[in-house]
C-alpha cells in the first residue's frame, strides 16, 4: 500500500489522507463520526453490518465507509439525505430480530445499538412478524450470553482469530438463522476472552460477575492501572455508591492497546472479599481484639523502637505501590533495619549486587513487535504476562519472528513456536549453557571466568548453533528471562548465561518482572543491599531466605500472606510462627495470617488508594483512588506516614501520595540512566543432581494466584479449577497405577517435606517425565514446601 498523501472531501471539509486507508479511519481521525457495529479499528474489516453506509460522489449506491479505500479527489457525504436514509434503513433491518428488552438488558445505557438507534434509527418498524429466538450459550464463569440480542457483527469471532489467537467462537448456520457460539459447549479458555465483552456492541456478551449490579449511568469511571503483571495495563474502574463494581479495558496504545487480560478485568472481585480487614487488631493471650488506630500504631512503634534492628525483618509485596514501598524502606532504614525485601518467591540471591538498577525489558513494550528472533527462558509468558505475549504474537505474525523457549513444561502458545525445549527444572541450566557455548563459539568473545567450568561440561549441538546464529543474524533479537527462571534455585546461573548469550549475540536482555511493581520495589530500595534508586547500603541485610532462617524477633509484612506468597509456604508459615511480633499491614485477614500475626493494621485494597506502579518498560504510571476503603482501613502510605512519625523519622510530613512520588522521582532523575547491564562477576554453579526416584516439582505461580487480590476473585478461581490439582503426564500417571484418566478425576496423595496433601491429578502431557506441575500460590499448595522441590506422589 502506498503511503502517498491524497486529498479527499468529507462533509465539505478537505482532508489529507493516506491513499488506500479506509474511509472510516480517515473520518475517525478528524472526528467525523460514522455509525458502525462490525467495524473495530483493531480487527479486520468485515463490512457485514452495513451501518456505516455513506454517500460517495459518482457511486450509484451508498458505500460502506469501513470497506471503502480513499482515493484522490473523492467526495463523501456522511450526513446527506442519501446517507441518512441508508443508515436509517440499515438500523431498521438490524432491529428486525433484536429484542426490545433494553429495560432488562445489562448493556442498556452503554449499548451501541441503543445509542445509534436513537441517533440514526426511526421510531417505528415495518416489521410486525415474530422475532427469532436464539438459545443462550454457557461459555463459562466470566462472560454471560443473551444470544437473541446478537446482531452477528462477528467482532467476537474475529477477535478470537486475530487477537486471542484461538478460534473459540464461530458463526454457525446461515442467513437469518446464523448464530454465534462455540458449537460444542465449552468454557472459553483464552486468557484474553473478557475483551469480547468490551467489543460486543450489544447486550449479547456481558460481564457475568458484575451482571445486574448497577446501570452504566449510575457508575463513576476512574482511570486506573492494573495491578498484577508487570505490563501495567490501563483499566477503567467503575464504582457505584463508592464501591468498585466493574473493571473494563482502558486505552493506551503503547502498553495494552485496548485489551486487558481476564486477570486484570475480573480480579476486582477480591476487593470485597469476606476476609477484608476492617479494624486494627491486636492479639492478646491468643485472642484477637479490635483496637483504635492510635493504640495499634503506638504498639507497632513501640515494638519496632525497642527491638534490635538486626532482629527486625521487613517483607513487602511487589504489588504495593511505589509510594508505600518507598516510605516503608525509608522509615525502616532510618531506624537501622536492613533486613528488607520484596523478592518473596526468589530463592537464589547469589550475585545480587551485580543486578542493574531495576529489572526491566530493556526496550519498550511496543518494541517487542519489531523483534525477529526471540528466546524465552523460563516463562509461561501467555499466562504470566498476557499483553507481552500479545506483542510477541504480533512479532511472529507480522514480522515472521522465530521464537524458541526453554521451559520446564510444554506451555501452550497462541502462535507458532519454532522450538520449545522442555527440560526438567534441574536441566534448565544445562540447556541454556549449551546455547551460551554455541553463542560464544560464534563470536570472538572470551568465556567469562565464572562460567568457564560450567561451559566446559556441556557440548554444543546443532539446535543451539542454529539458535545462536539466528539471534546473531537478526537485526532485533531479545532474550526474555521469565518468572520460572527468577524463581529457579539456580537463578543466578540462568541469569549469567542469559546475559552472556545476549552479549555475544547482540540481543536485548529482557527481564519479565513478576509483578505490577517489581521494578518499583527495586527503585524504592526494598532490597537488603540497596536504598532508593540503587544507593548501596553500608550494611547488607538479610534477604527473604535469610529472614525466614534467622531468628527474627519482629517482622513487618506489607500485603504479604506467608502461606501463599513465598517459594516455600510451609517454611514461611513456621518461621512467622516463631517470630515474637508479626505486624501485618494488610487488606485481608486470611486465617493462616491470623495464626501467625500479632498486630493487624488494615490497609486499603486495589482501587482504594492512590499511588504509582513502575511497569516492565520502566514507565511510572500514577493513579487515583476510585473507591472508598472498607471500614477503618486506610491507604498503606498513610499508615506508613504515621508510623514514620511515631518512629521519629524526619521529613515524613507528606500531604499526598504525589509528594512521595515526586521526592523519589527527583532522586531518580538526578541518578544515572537505567540499564540492564549486568556484569558476570561471580562463579556460577550447576543445578544439584536430582535423584531419579523422586518427582521434581514445577511450581510456577498459578495464573490467578499471584497475589492477595486475585486469589479472592471468585469468578476467576471458579474458571480455573485445575490450579488446585497436580499435573502429570500419561507415563507418570501409568506408573502410579491409574488407568487412563480421560475426564474422571482421581485423588492422589502428594508428599513434600513431610507434609501430605490429597489433591486431584490431571493428565497433562505438557509436563516432562519425572516432573509434576503443582502451582504455587494456590490453597492446595499453601502447606507445601519449595516450588521447585521434590515430591512423592502415591495413589
Amino acid at each position: 500500500m502506498s503511503k502517498d498523501k491524497i486529498t479527499i472531501t468529507v462533509d465539505d471539509k478537505e482532508i489529507e489522507a493516506v491513499a488506500g486507508s479506509m474511509l472510516i479511519e480517515v473520518a475517525d481521525e478528524i472526528g467525523i463520526h460514522i455509525p458502525r457495529f462490525c467495524y473495530h479499528k483493531k480487527l479486520s474489516v468485515a463490512a457485514n453490518c452495513r451501518m456505516c453506509l455513506v454517500e460517495v460522489e459518482k457511486a450509484p449506491k451508498p458505500m460502506p465507509a469501513c470497506a471503502t479505500p480513499v482515493n484522490d479527489g473523492m467526495v463523501v457525504w456522511t450526513r446527506s439525505e442519501k446517507a441518512l436514509t441508508a443508515q436509517k434503513d440499515t438500523m431498521e433491518f438490524l432491529l428486525i430480530n433484536h429484542p426490545l428488552d433494553c429495560p432488562i438488558c445489562d448493556q442498556g445505557g452503554e449499548c451501541e445499538l441503543q445509542d445509534q438507534s436513537i441517533a440514526h434509527g426511526g421510531s417505528s418498524s415495518s416489521y410486525h412478524e415474530i422475532k427469532r429466538v436464539v438459545v443462550d450459550k454457557d461459555i463459562g464463569e466470566l462472560v454471560a450470553t443473551e444470544m437473541t440480542r446478537c446482531i452477528q457483527c462477528t467482532r467476537c469471532v474475529r477477535f478470537g482469530e486475530e487477537i486471542s489467537g484461538m478460534r473459540e467462537l464461530g458463526a454457525f448456520g446461515r442467513g437469518d438463522r446464523m448464530e454465534i457460539g462455540t458449537f460444542v459447549e465449552h468454557d472459553l479458555s483464552s486468557e484474553l476472552s473478557g475483551n469480547i465483552i468490551d467489543i460486543c456492541p450489544v447486550g449479547a456478551l456481558t460481564a457475568k460477575p458484575s451482571r445486574y449490579t448497577a446501570r452504566p449511568w449510575e457508575m463513576t469511571q476512574t482511570p486506573g492501572i492494573a495491578s498484577h503483571d508487570s505490563v501495567g495495563s490501563s483499566v477503567n474502574l467503575h464504582t457505584f455508591k463508592h464501591r468498585l463494581v466493574r473493571v473494563v479495558a482502558g486505552e493506551n496504545e503503547d502498553i495494552n492497546e485496548c485489551w486487558i487480560s481476564n486477570r486484570d478485568r475480573f480480579s476486582y472481585q477480591g476487593v470485597r472479599s469476606y476476609d477484608r480487614a476492617s479494624t486494627p487488631m491486636i492479639k492478646q493471650a491468643g485472642a484477637w481484639k479490635s483496637v483504635s488506630w492510635e493504640q495499634a500504631l503506638e504498639e507497632v512503634g513501640e515494638s519496632l523502637r525497642s527491638a534490635n534492628p538486626d532482629e527486625v525483618g521487613v517483607l513487602a509485596s511487589p504489588r504495593a505501590t511505589l509510594e508505600e514501598l518507598y516510605l516503608l524502606q525509608k522509615s525502616m532504614r532510618s531506624i537501622g533495619v536492613n533486613n528488607i525485601d520484596h523478592r518473596l518467591r526468589q530463592t537464589d540471591f547469589y550475585d545480587q549486587e551485580s543486578m542493574g538498577l531495576f529489572p526491566w525489558l530493556g526496550m519498550s513494550i511496543a518494541d517487542i513487535e519489531d523483534q525477529q528472533a526471540i528466546l524465552i527462558v523460563g516463562s509461561d509468558v501467555r499466562r504470566d504476562q498476557p499483553m507481552i505475549n500479545h506483542r510477541i504474537r504480533k512479532a511472529v505474525l507480522n514480522n515472521d519472528a522465530s521464537v524458541v523457549c526453554i521451559n520446564p513444561a510444554a506451555f501452550n502458545f497462541n502462535y507458532a513456536v519454532d522450538n520449545q525445549w522442555v527440560v526438567s527444572p534441574a536441566k534448565m541450566v544445562d540447556s541454556l549453557a549449551v546455547i551460551a557455548k554455541a553463542a560464544i563459539k560464534n563470536s570472538n568473545l572470551e568465556t567469562p571466568a565464572g562460567l568457564s567450568e560450567l561451559l566446559k561440561s556441556v557440548r554444543v549441538n546443532v539446535k543451539s548453533k542454529v539458535l545462536a546464529q539466528q539471534l546473531t543474524d537478526a537485526e532485533n533479537s531479545v532474550i526474555f528471562l521469565g518468572a520460572l527462571a527468577i524463581q529457579h534455585d539456580r537463578y543466578s546461573t540462568l541469569r549469567a548465561l542469559t546475559a552472556l548469550i545476549a552479549e555475544t549475540t547482540g540481543s536485548t536482555f529482557a527481564y519479565l518482572p513478576e509483578a505490577a511493581n517489581t521494578a518499583g520495589a527495586w527503585l524504592a530500595g526494598v532490597v537488603p543491599h540497596r536504598k532508593e534508586v540503587g544507593e548501596v547500603t553500608r550494611v547488607v541485610g538479610s534477604n527473604v531466605t535469610g529472614m525466614l532462617n534467622d531468628s527474627l524477633k519482629v517482622c513487618l509484612l506489607l500485603d504479604v500472606e506467608p502461606a501463599f506468597d513465598f517459594d516455600n509456604p510451609q517454611r514461611a508459615q513456621s518461621a512467622m510462627q516463631n517470630i515474637d511480633r508479626v505486624i501485618a499491614i494488610t487488606p485481608y485477614i486470611h486465617k493462616s495470617l491470623l495464626e501467625v500475626a500479632d498486630i493487624v493494621l488494615p490497609s486499603a485494597a486495589f482501587s482504594e488508594t492512590s499511588g504509582t506502579y513502575v511497569n516492565a518498560e520502566g514507565k511510572w504510571q500514577s493513579f487515583k483512588a476510585a473507591a472508598k476503603s472498607v471500614g477503618e482501613s486506610r491507604p498503606a502510605w498513610k499508615i506508613l506516614r504515621v508510623l514514620g512519625n511515631k518512629l521519629g523519622v524526619e521529613g515524613f510530613d507528606y500531604v499526598s501520595s504525589t509528594d512521595i512520588r515526586d521526592e523519589l522521582k527527583e532522586i531518580y532523575d538526578a541518578a544515572c540512566p537505567v540499564s540492564n547491564s549486568f556484569e558476570i562477576s561471580g562463579v556460577y554453579a550447576h543445578s544439584d543432581v536430582v535423584s531419579e526416584n523422586v518427582i521434581q516439582r514445577i511450581g510456577g505461580v498459578a495464573e490467578f494466584c499471584g497475589d492477595s487480590l486475585q486469589r479472592r476473585a471468585t469468578a476467576l478461581q471458579e474458571s480455573a479449577p485445575e490450579q488446585n490439582a497436580v499435573h502429570l503426564n500419561a507415563t507418570e500417571i501409568k506408573k502410579l497405577g491409574i488407568s487412563p484418566l480421560k475426564d474422571s478425576s482421581v485423588d492422589v496423595t502428594v508428599e513434600q517435606d513431610g507434609v501430605t496433601i490429597i489433591m486431584p491429578v490431571i493428565e497433562n502431557d505438557a509436563v516432562p517425565d519425572g516432573c509434576a506441575l503443582l502451582y504455587t500460590g494456590t490453597s492446595a499448595s499453601s502447606q507445601m514446601g519449595s516450588a521447585f522441590g521434590t515430591l512423592k506422589i502415591t495413589l
Binding site: 478460534r167 464461530g170 458463526a171 454457525f172 458449537f183
Partner: protein, 178 residues
C-alpha cells in the same frame, strides 16, 4: 503429531479422498480441501459427527470451529445422526419446483413413507431431507435428488416407481450377496 488421532478416526477412503484434494491446493491453504473432506465423511457416514469434524480439523490443521462453521452453513451436510439411512430423498421446494407442484410430491412421499420431512423411516431405509435450496434443475421442475441422482418432471406415479425400484434394487442386491 498433527494427525495422530485423526488418522484413527478417519476411514481409509476419507483419508485418500482428502489427500487427493490436498494435492490440488498450495500447502498453506489446506482449508481449501475442507468441503471435499466433509463430502467424503458424508459419503461414508451420511452425517457429520463432532468426532469426525474434529478429526478433519486436526488432519487439515485448521481450527475446529472453522469446520463447524462450514458444516453448518451448507444444507448438503447433515449434522444429526438421524439422517443416517440407506437412501436419502431430497425434494427441491424452491421457487420453480414449488410453482410446478413440489408440494404435492412432498405430500405424496410423506404419505407413502409415513414420515415428515427431516425424518427417517423406522426401518432405516429412507431419510427425507429438508431441502431448502434450489438444486439447479429448474427446467425439469418439480425435481428431486435420490441419493446422488437427479430425477426431473416428477409425478406421484414416477416417485412411486423410483422408490419401488430402490427397494427392489436393494432386495436384489441382498439376494445376490446371500
Amino acid at each position: 503429531m498433527t494427525s495422530s488421532r485423526s488418522k484413527t478416526v478417519l476411514t481409509k477412503h476419507e483419508i485418500t479422498e482428502i489427500d487427493s484434494w490436498l494435492k490440488r491446493y498450495p500447502e498453506d491453504r489446506s482449508q481449501s480441501a475442507l468441503l471435499a473432506a466433509l463430502r467424503a465423511v458424508m459419503h461414508e457416514d451420511h452425517y457429520l459427527s463432532v468426532e469426525k469434524m474434529d478429526a478433519v480439523a486436526e488432519y487439515l490443521g485448521i481450527p475446529e470451529v472453522a469446520v463447524y462453521e462450514v458444516a453448518s452453513f451448507y444444507s448438503m451436510f447433515e449434522l444429526d445422526e438421524k439422517a443416517v439411512a440407506e437412501n436419502t430423498i431430497a425434494v427441491c421446494t424452491n421457487i420453480s419446483c414449488m410453482l410446478n407442484g413440489s408440494d404435492k410430491i412432498v405430500e405424496h412421499i410423506e404419505e407413502r413413507l409415513g414420515i415428515k420431512m427431516g425424518e427417517t423411516t423406522p426401518d432405516g431405509k429412507f431419510f427425507f431431507k429438508v431441502e431448502e435450496e434450489c438444486l439447479a434443475a429448474c427446467c425439469g421442475a418439480p425435481m428431486m435428488q435420490l441419493n446422488h441422482v437427479y430425477h426431473e418432471n416428477l409425478t406421484p406415479e414416477k416417485v412411486d416407481q423410483l422408490l419401488d425400484s430402490v427397494s427392489l434394487c436393494k432386495a436384489e442386491e441382498e439376494q445376490n450377496n446371500g
